[in-house]
């Protein structure tokens, strides 16, 4: 099987999606990290027709009928979920032709990210290879950027990829503005303040009109208002992107006032400062900044690293998102690792990229942990998945399908390794003195 994984197809750089699970599989001998905080040593996980049929001690597993895969000494985790991302909506960040995450205009509640999802992106297989198996496709920009969908990362097309379509709407809370004591800029600031007031008014009208739209009878359909009805009956979430503490409070209060049922705060760099408010209002958080710099010089040097721990201590439901660059989403396990290095328990850190995320995205009944009845979307790593020193994904399954972990980068690696293998073996590094001298 290992040989099969590493057989490099010469032409194809994005591997073919794995076929449907055809026979029951049982992974045995590993340490199971359930995703809900529990750890089972010497565990076995069985799954059939894409669903988990057993997850527990190996001693309690009934092996009959299963194809047994021995993963003794390894670790089993739920597949990681990256929320708030444009993976598959953009291939090369600097090339406009490849950007499909931004629509023109400020208020685009009717715009749907799912239809632009490119399952043939070269980046996606590299992300899977580190254990990230799902993402929330999120449009960016404007005040309301559109709706997001949750997809799994091994599909022929966007329809195949859907885990949950159009599950939430993204509202970028207008930036609060401040004077800076710099009189030179006051004209610009004034204009920006006027623009903000205008945007706030537009938002107010949109939500007011959308709330009553469903009840009325309409001769012509309004796409924007129609697209927002789910916010008021709870079938769709409102993701408010805000970082400044007061923006978070302002945004959440706005949503509550308009009767929005499910609100999630995204970004939330100041979440710790408004933890009481978030807790009192039962607002979950997608925190976007672990591997970032503190926002002020005085802030504790490790503030972004320990924020997950502080949110956990405050009793807030939170998930982590890697938001620095699309290609870096494969480092999602390591931001969870950093959170663990700075106070969070390792299993809680795992939950912040699996079960917590599933809960926040509303897919926890189907995904997010390795429990019976859920989708067999899971990862096996020979070592601790959250530490780059040991992260080494050996198997990954999405809905029970054994996915190909190959990618363009591995292909290029092999190609050039082979080139040099045929050349003379060089001296090892370090044997020479200073380069260039």
């Amino acid at each position: 099987m290992v040989a099969l994984l590493f057989a490099v197809p010469v032409m194809a750089q994005v591997p073919a999606p794995a076929p449907k699970q055809s026979k029951p599989v049982l992974l045995k001998g590993a340490t199971l990290h359930v995703g809900n905080g529990q750890v089972v040593e010497n565990a076995a996980v069985g799954f059939e027709n894409g669903k988990i049929t057993y997850a527990g001690p190996q001693s309690g597993a009934n092996l009959s009928g299963y194809e047994v895969v021995d993963v003794t000494g390894q670790h089993i985790y739920p597949g990681l979920i990256q929320p708030n991302a444009a993976l598959g909506l953009n291939e090369v960040e600097s090339v406009r032709a490849t950007i499909d995450w931004r629509e023109v205009g400020e208020l685009n509640p009717n715009v749907r990210s799912i239809i632009a999802y490119n399952t043939d992106s070269d980046i996606i297989p590299t992300v899977r290879a580190n254990g990230v198996l799902m993402t929330q496709l999120t449009p960016i920009g404007g005040t309301i950027s559109g709706t997001s969908s949750v997809v799994q990362l091994d599909a022929w097309n966007w329809e195949d990829a859907i885990v949950k379509a159009d599950e939430g709407m993204h509202l970028n809370w207008p930036n609060m503005l401040i004077e800076t004591g710099n009189s030179r800029g006051n004209e610009r600031l004034k204009r920006m303040q006027e623009e903000r007031e205008k945007t706030m008014l537009e938002l107010e009208k949109l939500f007011r009109d959308a709330a009553v739209y469903k009840a009325g009878k309409h001769d012509s359909k309004n796409l924007k208002l129609t697209s927002m009805t789910g916010l008021f009956d709870g079938s769709q979430k409102l993701y408010i992107h805000a970082n400044y503490g007061k923006e978070i409070i302002e945004g959440v209060n706005f949503a509550k006032k308009h009767g929005v049922k499910n609100v999630v705060v995204v970004g939330a760099r100041d979440a710790v400062a408004v933890a009481d408010f978030l807790k009192a209002n039962n607002i979950p958080v997608i925190y976007s900044g672990v591997h970032v710099l503190p926002s002020r010089a005085e802030e504790d040097v490790d503030m972004p690293y320990k924020t997950p721990y502080l949110l956990h201590k405050a009793g807030i439901l939170f998930a982590l998102d890697y938001d620095l660059a699309i290609h870096g989403i494969r480092n999602l396990p390591f931001i969870a690792g950093t959170a663990a290095a700075y106070g969070l328990d390792k299993e809680q850190a795992l939950a912040s990229v699996t079960l917590n995320t599933a809960k926040i995205l509303g897919i926890e009944k189907q995904l997010g942990s390795v429990e019976v009845g859920k989708d067999a979307t899971l990862v096996v790593s020979s070592g601790d998945l959250l530490d780059m020193r040991t992260n080494n994904v050996t198997y990954a399954y999405i809905q029970g399908r054994h996915i190909d972990l190959n990618n363009k980068q591995k292909y290029l690696y092999e190609k050039f390794e082979n080139k040099y293998k045929h050349q003379q073996q060089p001296a090892p590094a370090g044997a020479t003195s200073s380069a260039g001298k």
Partner: protein
């Protein structure tokens, strides 16, 4: 009999003491008068240290004729009795834009095409920012409004500087008399003026601070060359530059660091600049003092910030809070350290703050004598104008002030300001009504009025059962009073009346609308206690906290010291043949690693238990842009003349943050906006030391080259299609051309230097070109290249050009396709410094792979992992660990990629990069395996000094928060007392990358 005028009575006197208007035709009859005036019985301060009580001052024709105790009043003199008054020399402001046209700095927008050449008409310098041909005296016009404003502050003469450009030409010393310009100019060319600000120039170069520094340097050289070779090039600017150099040079620096930078340039060309400072000099007192530069100080003290909202107040940094408290002490701290100081009113947003702020500086420790000196003798001396202004001796210009009292006391009021013998009235002697009065309000005698404050601005307290504050104001001999009935009452009693002898009386209205007659009988002068209380309050306000180094968050009063440290029983990653040692000890002594081994002991050493911990060499970042005030010049394809060492910012908080990530040494690189960028600065992260002290001594010189999309401006928008090169084809030609020129230049110098002395005298020396100097250094293995690079074609190209032109590329940085050409790199002998796993962010990185470092390392190329990012640099150890994951590299090799290998690439491996006796004690103690995500530094040593210590860090957080709270409380208190306030400044984390050229202004205003 002589007619005696009192000062107040001689308003009409206007001495037309004019002799200098000779060449001008006159309309009407000649009306020239001698302007002979004698001031008697005055306390005359003839200079800052000499006071003559009861003296007479005689002026004639706008000059001082005599001054002294027993001076005879000449016949025909207008005599003015100045009894009880003080006379001071008129103040001198040696930095002003008085009478000069406004300078408008308009920057080209980023959507407009670049302007590569000067558009100025005439045979001037190639660069518009070099305008030494400007003589302020040629632009000068008397401006009555400005002059009046400055005279009110006490100034009699100012140096008018045309604040435009880097070389600004000459400044002119003028009086503030409202006469024809020809008469008020005291010295047509009194000083030369310089700055790092390109002013109104729209030309692209220089776009950065280091470009401005380089341009100034080159201009000195060009002016010398032009003077020696007059036949080569007609250039008005260069001739003028040489001329302007003969005067005292005033350099306008926008902050303390620029003072240090400017002083270095001055030193290179034998010039001691006079610095126009910004008010933050005390923050780097030892270095500022070492420049020996006289400093013209700003009196613009920051206003208190709005800190009522605790959430928003977080935006005010400790640095700003402390500066608010300490800025008034700047003058005293500098003067006491022996720095020559002068004051300028130039920076004041509200000029009326001048005297109050000057007095504040005195309250904060500057002696009155020194304060006066800084406004008289010092500027006069610095401008070689001691025989004209700054004191009141015979023959000097009759510029002087008449004040009601000591100028520095709160009661001192400038009554008159005489300029060139012309009288300008400023204020009347304020009548002093201060004292205690018994108020009789109708039949009610239950209140006393306490009138305190200053004579100019009296303050009222009404003492009855409650003491309430009231308002009192005098207008001539009329008085208006109002105060609340009682402490809790909102009802006010309002009185109007007049001064009757020492008493006050009049009519008023009570809150019940009834009229009432009142008298206030004077009973005693303002009590001594009242005066003392005022002084005490001022003194309390004048207390301030300690300076911290650096003047930034996580700065300290005392820098950590070098220690003898013995780390026992740790896992030691030596990076030497012995590899990783378990249960080993490391001894650090005198800044070096003294011993590595087992069971070491050292008396007097601080012993640290390393059980379960790891010791590694400090992390070295080959590619960093922290601690810099600018990154890209980039306006020309070749800017080898710019030096990052000129713009090191030792107060960047990212220095401390990276120490907390185990980084000890960084190469601070120029950006990647052009094929040949600027010269690197290699620094150790010595937090709290100056920029110069951070530089690694005797390190080899490096320079940044760059290839690919940034260089050809691919992602810069459609307007940026002018500057050559715009394709990889052009990039090659830039290199070939640059090195061809460099070779010819080197040859020309060799030829010249081989001449005999006699021949040299007859032969023109080649022009010194700082850009080509740097390239010649590369050709001679005296400067080494770090080249930003991505795709294989361009990497190959540069190695080919190098072979052809006869130089070596030392390091390819980024080198994301290094894995494709590793064999060729090996052959060229070049190292690679790369990212662990970045890709897909632009076209040229679509083939980047995380196995790149592994392949290069396997091929025997000296391979490093770098950051190019202030955040990632905090976790470089983890970035190195990714190569273990992706390519199975050994853990020791992986660690070497962020320690020993970058040391090799920087030619510093003889002193850094491994744990070996004799090497620098740049050492990190980790709590866990250093390649693990769970590892964090407990201590980071540089030169055996624990610049970062996790435990100390936790204490500092607490101390810092307390200091913050103290300052916030003080600020709130002063605000309650009526102090002005301003909105908090944003303190955005500023992170510079290779490609950064401009900042979006909008973002300044985002709350987050």
């Amino acid at each position: 009999m002589k007619k005696i005028f009192t000062i107040a009575a001689c308003l009409a006197l206007s001495a037309g003491s004019v002799m200098a208007q000779e060449t001008f035709p006159r309309n009407g009859v000649y009306d020239e008068r001698a302007g002979l005036v004698a001031f008697t019985n005055a306390t005359v301060h003839t200079d800052y240290k000499t006071t003559i009580p009861n003296a007479t001052l005689v002026i004639r024709d706008g000059k001082v004729e005599a001054v002294g105790e027993n001076v005879k009043v000449p016949a025909g003199a207008v005599v003015m009795d100045a009894k009880g008054k003080h006379i001071y020399p008129g103040l001198v402001d040696m930095f002003s834009d008085y009478g000069l046209p406004e300078v408008k700095a308009e920057r080209r927008s980023w959507t407009a095409p670049p302007q590569l050449e000067s558009t100025k008409e005439g045979v001037y310098n190639w660069n518009e920012a070099i305008r030494p041909e400007t003589d302020a005296v040629a632009l000068f016009n008397v401006n009555g409004k400005q002059a009046g404003e400055l005279r009110k502050l006490g100034f009699g003469s100012v140096l008018a500087v045309h604040r435009d450009g880097i070389a600004r030409g000459t400044a002119t010393l003028v009086t503030l008399a409202e006469k024809r310009g020809n008469e008020v100019v005291l010295k047509d060319k009194a000083a030369g003026a310089l700055s790092f600000d390109k002013g109104s120039s729209k030309q692209d170069y220089p776009s950065s601070l280091m470009g401005a520094v380089a341009l100034l340097r080159q201009t000195y050289l060009d002016a010398q060359w032009n003077a020696q070779n007059p036949q080569k090039e007609q250039n008005i600017s260069l001739t003028a530059f040489a001329q302007a150099n003969k005067y005292p040079q005033i350099f306008e620096a926008s902050n303390k660091l620029n003072i240090l930078r400017a002083d270095k340039v001055g030193d290179e060309f034998g010039k001691q600049y006079i610095m126009k400072g910004a008010g933050d000099e005390y923050q780097m007192l030892p270095q500022i003092k070492a420049t020996n530069a006289p400093i013209i100080l700003s009196l613009d003290f920051p206003e208190a910030y709005n800190v009522e909202d605790p959430f928003d107040a977080r935006r005010v940094s400790v640095k700003d809070l402390k500066h608010w408290e300490m800025a008034p002490a700047n003058a005293a701290l500098l003067q006491q350290a022996g720095v020559t100081i002068a004051f300028s009113a130039y920076d004041l947003k509200d000029k009326k703050d001048f005297l109050p702020n000057l007095r504040k500086a005195v309250k904060y420790g500057l002696s009155e004598e020194e304060a006066l000196k800084a406004l008289t003798a010092t500027p006069a001396k610095l401008l070689n104008a001691e025989n004209l202004v700054g004191s009141l001796n015979k023959g000097m210009v009759a510029n002087f002030l008449i004040t009601s009292d000591n100028l520095f006391s709160e009661d001192g009021v400038i009554l008159e300001n005489w300029v060139q013998g012309e009288q300008y009235k400023i204020a009347d002697v304020p009548a002093d009504y201060r004292g205690v009065y018994t108020l009789k309000l109708g039949n009610d005698t239950g209140r006393k009025l306490l009138v305190a404050g200053t004579a100019e601005k009296p303050e009222l307290k009404v003492i009855a059962q409650d003491t309430v504050k009231g308002n009192i104001s005098f207008n001539g001999n009329l008085v208006t009073i109002s105060f609340a009935e009682s402490k809790d009452s909102k009802q006010s009693i309002r009185l109007s009346g007049w001064v009757a002898g020492k008493n006050l009386q009049g009519e008023g209205q009570l809150p019940n609308a009834s009229s009432v007659k009142w008298t206030a009988a004077y009973s005693e002068a303002m009590t001594e206690k009242e005066k003392k209380d005022r002084a005490k309050q001022a003194e309390e306000n004048a207390a301030f906290g300690s300076t911290i180094y650096p003047f930034q968050a996580f700065g300290q009063q005392e820098l950590p010291k070098q220690e003898t440290v013995l780390i026992k029983n740790a896992t030691v990653w030596t990076n030497e043949e012995e590899g990783r040692l378990e249960n080993a000890d490391v001894l650090i002594k005198n800044g070096k690693i003294a011993k590595v081994g087992k069971n070491l002991s050292e008396s007097g050493a601080r012993v640290i238990d390393g059980t379960g911990k790891h010791v590694t060499p400090g992390i070295i970042d080959e590619h960093s842009h922290i601690a810099l005030d600018a990154v890209n010049e980039g306006t020309q394809a070749v800017t080898a003349e710019v030096r990052m060492a000129d713009v090191v910012d030792p107060e960047d908080i990212n220095i401390y943050r990276q120490l907390a990530g185990g980084v000890t040494t960084s190469q601070l690189l120029h950006g990647s906006a052009n094929p040949i960028g600027g010269q690197s600065a290699i620094v150790k992260l010595r937090w709290g030391k100056s920029a110069d002290e951070m530089l690694v001594k005797d390190a080899d010189g490096y320079i940044k080259f760059a290839l690919g999309e940034n260089v050809k401006q691919s992602n810069w928008g459609s307007a940026q299609t002018v500057r050559f090169p715009q394709s990889r084809m052009g990039v090659e030609q830039v290199y070939v051309d640059a090195f061809t020129r460099a070779k010819e230049y080197e040859k020309a110098w060799k030829n010249y230097n081989s001449l005999s002395k006699r021949q040299k005298a007859k032969t023109a020396a080649p022009r010194r070109d700082l850009e080509l100097d740097a390239l010649v250094e590369i050709l001679n293995d005296e400067r080494f290249i770090t080249c930003h690079s991505y795709v294989q074609s361009e990497i190959n190209m540069l190695m080919n050009v190098a072979d052809e032109m006869g130089f070596k590329v030392n390091t390819f940085t980024h080198i994301l396709e290094g894995y494709k050409v590793a064999d060729k790199m090996k052959e060229h002998g070049v190292g690679g410094s790369t990212f662990s796993d970045w890709w897909a962010y632009k076209m040229e990185v679509k083939d980047a792979i995380p196995h790149n470092a592994g392949i290069m390392n396997q091929m025997g190329i000296v391979t490093a992992i770098n950051s190019d990012d202030a955040e990632m640099a905090r976790r470089l150890n983890q970035e190195a660990a990714k190569s273990v994951k992706y390519t199975g590299m050994s853990e020791e090799d992986a660690l070497k990629m962020v320690t020993l290998n970058p040391a090799k690439l920087l030619h510093l491996d003889d002193r850094m990069g491994s744990i070996k006796a004799g090497k620098d004690a740049d050492v990190v103690l980790w709590n866990d395996h250093p390649l693990s995500i769970y590892a964090k530094p407990l201590k980071t040593f540089v030169d055996g000094i624990a610049y970062y210590d996790l435990e100390r860090d936790e204490q500092m957080r607490e101390t810092q928060e307390k200091e913050r709270m103290r300052l916030v409380q003080k600020m709130l208190h002063e605000k309650d007392g009526g102090a002005k306030t301003q909105a908090p400044r944003t303190q955005k984390a500023r992170v510079l990358h290779c490609e950064d050229v401009a900042q979006q202004e909008e973002e300044l205003y985002f709350a987050y």
